[in-house]
Amino acid sequence: MIEAQGLTKDYGDKRAVDGLTFTVRPGVVTGFLGPNGSGKSTTMRLILELDAPTAGDVTVNGKHYRDHAAPLHEVGALLEARSVHTGRSAYNHLLALAQTQGIPRSRVDELIDMVGLHEVAKKRAGGFSLGMGQRLGIATALLGDPSTVMLDEPVNGLDPEGILWIRQLLKRLASEGRTVFVSSHLMSEMALTADHLIVIGRGRVIADTSTEDFVAQASGSLVRVRSPQAARLAELLAGPDVTVTPVDGDGLLDVKGLKAAQIGDLAAGNGIAIHELTPQQASLEDAFMELTREDVEFKALEQEAVA
């Protein structure tokens, strides 16, 4: 369980995280979604108290991270930035971290086997590929058998097999009752793994919803209708929660707020011919872009201003 209250972080005069309030619950995979630079990694560093918040507060399992007697048993984290001494072997890296809180050597061996690094465990981590580095990071995260697992962009650099492995791992960890908090800038990836989504943009929470609701909202809300009596149909469809937009002069309308069946029934009841009736499946990626567009635009403007 992770609970953030008004979490805010400034770096100089730049606000990276702006009043985040959210709760990450155990037993489900929670996706932490946002464009690059939206504050995901900063939030994770604040949770681990690697950085101190400018304002607000965040606790893990009811306490500040720093106050836990066995931190690695509470939270296992994979940070986006590499956190491994390049000159040390994977085995010694894990061993050194395990020893800080008396995690047995057998656990290190177990994890090296589990993430599939057995062959290279005694090699210097500096020579690892991106994928091997991610696997080592995941072994590090699971070292203390943590009740909360927090992974920043875990599928980065993994091959399709590795991505599948991560998805299954995340689901299994959640099914074991753990809190699983995974960040990504890829909506499609999150739709496959996450049960719940926290979407942020420019350091603010812009959606905190189940993936199911998010998907339902994103798709099927738009219906494309073609009719020779488009003007009349538009009048009939009009209502408080309905928007009708003519697409071209050729009787094509985009209808928001009504299902395809409702439109068809209404047209049939009024004797209006329909030549086309298509629910538009807005992709999740589109929905996500739509949701975060303002933030991305703002960033582009900011960069222009700087340039």
């Binding site: 560093r45 681990l48 108290e49 690697l50 950085d51 101190a52 991270y65 720093r66 836990h68 007697a69 066995a70 931190p71 690695l72 048993h73 939270v75 984290a77 940070l79 930035a81 590499r82 956190s83 491994v84 001494h85 390049t86 000159g87 040390r88 072997s89 010694n92 890296h93 061993l95 050194a96 971290l97 395990a98 020893q99 800080t100 809180q101 008396g102 995690i103 047995p104 656990r107 177990e110 589990m114 590090t140 699971l142 203390g144 058998d145 074991e176």
Partner: protein
Amino acid sequence: MSAVAAQVRVTQARVALSEWTKLRSVRSTRWSFLAAILFAIGLGALVSAIAGHHYPRMAPHEQATFDALDVSLVGVQLSQLAIGVLGVLVITAEYSTGMIRASLTAVPKRLPVLWAKALVFAATTAALMIPAALIAFFVGQAILSSHHIETSFSHPGVARVVLGAGLYLTVVGVFALGLGAIVRNTAGGIALFAGIMFVIPPLLNVLPANWNNAASPYLPLAAGEAIMSTSSGNHLSPWVGLGLFFLYALAALAVAAVLLLRRDT
């Protein structure tokens, strides 16, 4: 996934064990200590051989001031560079590689990491460099003995100087580690270490002589080296000097500790 035992928790002793694993598992440790030991013993032996060979042709006043003890320990001057660089690196490599994030995630109270690093590095340096100084002394004297100009370990002050050389190197290591922890950057740490130790003392020469004479014995290098001095000159007494140098090292660590708690990682 097997459960991790319930007695899992962070203790200072466990963090020290972890730091020992870290220290012994990177190449820079082995190479730096190897260099420090070879400098101490090898350079001491080489200079002893040259000095012994040259001794019969020295002018009488040179022979009178010839110091067999100094000659055999001359390599310590180079060893201190290797130890200083390694001391800086022990902490700054964690920042340059990002390992510090893993270290501070495992030990979020942070200070145990700094204390353990300093303690483990000091103990390792002492365990290697005190014997290295002893070997350098005995090898040097064995070489000088062929010219009958050697000194003996039981001679007054000799044991203090030889063992003191190992202790001096240990304090050098802790001081460098503290400076590295303050600047968190390898190049900056080494520059700061070398600047304080070796650049500031000659700069004081621009001061009026009486000011310079008053201040220079209290600088870190001069204070620390007092433990290896057998002559009476403008320096502190041996143990006071080494003690002051140790205080410099502790002060660097204290500043590093305050910054470690306050700074983002």
